[in-house]
């Protein structure tokens, strides 16, 4: 499901923004591109819009524009789409969205995941995508049978004609439906009629997380790939004084040693020689003024800062008066340690940069930022860059070295 795909859906998804909720519907694929996509994507080649594809085998693929880090959008967003689509939940699959404007966060306007916003910010848009797809399937069935779509209903991946009881599966209707014009403002279900939303539902991504098949950033392999590890400064703001590139290069398998803005990268034909190469660098750092900074000093500085008057963010009532007249007073000091936004999977990124294209795979919460950074670093055009995040893990975009 998450095989590495070099095709960018963006290239052949014709999209248009709608007013209001920002629902974006893609239509009409050129035949060739559709065939290419079908062979890549397997079962679900027919896009009804940017969020829903349906295959001839009846599989419903929901394209999820929020990163899965364990918090569940690979399940919750398909649930919302499937609810409005009247899809058979057993036939619903998920797929990570490529980087494209139609997948931008509905509030923040950039493609990103964070702040516990994935479900509520998509609540209207992806339900509309499901509802629009449903309308298109209804219309396709009506056209097939020569009846009004109003006389048809949907249930469990099928369109049923009320009068005759005739049935067509979504898979049978997908191709025809994908050629129809998407409705602009499809009606949404009355929440009282929800069958899926609000019900306990098992995660769609559990099976592949129990059999080793889930592909995380570190698992991506590109033919001819080399592995780089970076020796990073031990202290914030430290500067590189010297290192021994020759000693690192003497390790069998090490190919190159490259000084970067904040450290030294050792490039090798695998992780192990790269790590050995890094250990051989004999780096000397100028650790700078922060060398003696430690947690205790920092805590003291924070406490000192907390005693000083700060910037007024909100003033409501009179604390001094209220406390003065309080029957009981409690005093406590709360102190939290620095909590690293660290993942079990080490920071990593796979890049396939060519003269006219760049493909990047990384566990990320911020696809637009990654794409822009790649554009800046490579000088390529945004449309030549595809940043994949089909890889689930918890991560923030790593700091860039330039």
């Amino acid at each position: 499901m998450n095989a590495i795909i070099n095709l960018s859906r963006r290239n052949f998804l014709k999209t248009s923004a709608l007013a209001g909720g920002g629902l974006i519907l893609g239509v009409h694929l050129p035949g060739l591109a559709r065939a290419a996509e079908a062979s890549q994507q397997g079962a679900s080649p027919f896009p009804l819009n940017a969020f829903v594809r349906i295959g001839q085998d009846d599989t419903v693929t929901v394209i999820v524009n929020h990163s899965e880090m364990g918090q569940g959008p690979y399940t919750s967003i398909p649930m919302m789409v499937a609810e409005e689509l009247d899809a058979d939940w057993n036939k619903v699959r998920y797929e990570a969205a490529p980087v494209a404007p139609e997948y931008n966060h509905s509030v923040y306007g950039i493609q990103m995941t964070g702040g516990s916003t994935s479900t509520w910010s998509e609540w209207e848009r992806v339900r509309k995508a499901g509802a629009a797809a449903r309308q298109m399937l209804l219309a396709a069935a009506g056209e097939t049978w020569g009846v009004s779509a109003d006389t048809c209903r949907t249930e469990n991946n099928q369109v049923i004609h009320g009068g005759s009881g005739r049935k067509l599966s979504y898979g049978e209707l997908a191709e025809k439906a994908s050629r129809l014009t998407p409705p602009q403002n499809p009606p949404l279900k009355d929440p009282k009629k929800f069958k899926l939303v609000g019900k306990p539902t098992r995660r769609l991504d559990t099976p592949e997380k129990t059999n080793g098949k889930a592909i995380f950033g570190l698992d991506v392999n590109v033919p001819g790939m080399v592995v780089a590890v970076i020796a990073r400064p031990p202290v914030f703001g430290a500067k590189l004084k010297s290192f021994n590139a020759e000693k690192a290069k003497a390790i069998p398998g090490v190919q190159r040693v490259v000084e970067i803005e904040r450290g030294v990268a050792v490039v090798a034909d695998g992780f192990w020689p790269a790590k050995h190469g890094r250990e051989a660098l004999e780096i000397i750092w100028d650790e700078g003024p922060l060398a003696s900074l430690d947690s205790r000093t920092q805590r003291e500085q924070y406490a000192e800062l907390a005693r000083k008057p700060g910037t007024l963010a909100l003033k409501q009532g009179d604390v001094a008066t209220a406390l003065g007249g309080a029957a009981k007073r409690f005093e406590a000091i709360y102190d939290l340690p620095y909590l690293a936004h660290a993942t079990m999977e080490p920071m990593n990124c796979v890049a396939d940069v060519r003269a006219d294209s760049a493909e990047v795979w990384t566990g990320t919460q911020y696809q637009t930022g990654d794409r822009d950074a790649i554009v800046k670093d490579t000088g390529l055009k945004p449309e030549q860059v595809n940043a994949h995040d089909a890889l689930r893990r918890r991560i923030r975009t790593p700091r860039r070295d330039r």
Binding site: T206, F271, T343, E345
Partner: protein, 154 residues
Amino acid sequence: MTSLTVNRKKYELDVDPTTPLLWVLREKLQLTGTKFGCGMALCGACTVHLNGEAVRSCVTPLSRAAGKEVVTIEGLSPDLARPLQQAWITEDVPQCGYCQSGQIMAAAVLLRENSNPSDTDIDDCMTGNICRCGTYQRIRRAIHLAAKLKTERK
């Protein structure tokens, strides 16, 4: 040349024998279900079976696996994989999922040795496998369920 068996398949590998088994599995055999977490035997994400014992592949040199049988998450025998995976799905164990191959490989050894582990048995056996998402309670429930499923299957 190092000879070893991985998931019941024999390999002759021309790899520096000091290379940790983890990198041989991931980079040479493309068995990426075994994860790299700490590289220091502290987290358990790289747990595989070496002649049936759970080992940390990140600190197991290839030479130690020579002539032995390695089993990874991809090759776990169905009598253990099926109840464990079914239990993991029923209990919705994983969140991010990164540690779960290691968790399941550790749990598989426990289940093979102990058909009805107590909470304490589970905690003792699983203590070296860290989960950053904190799925420990569900892992425990899933191991109890897997034990039940495995017994019922017999």
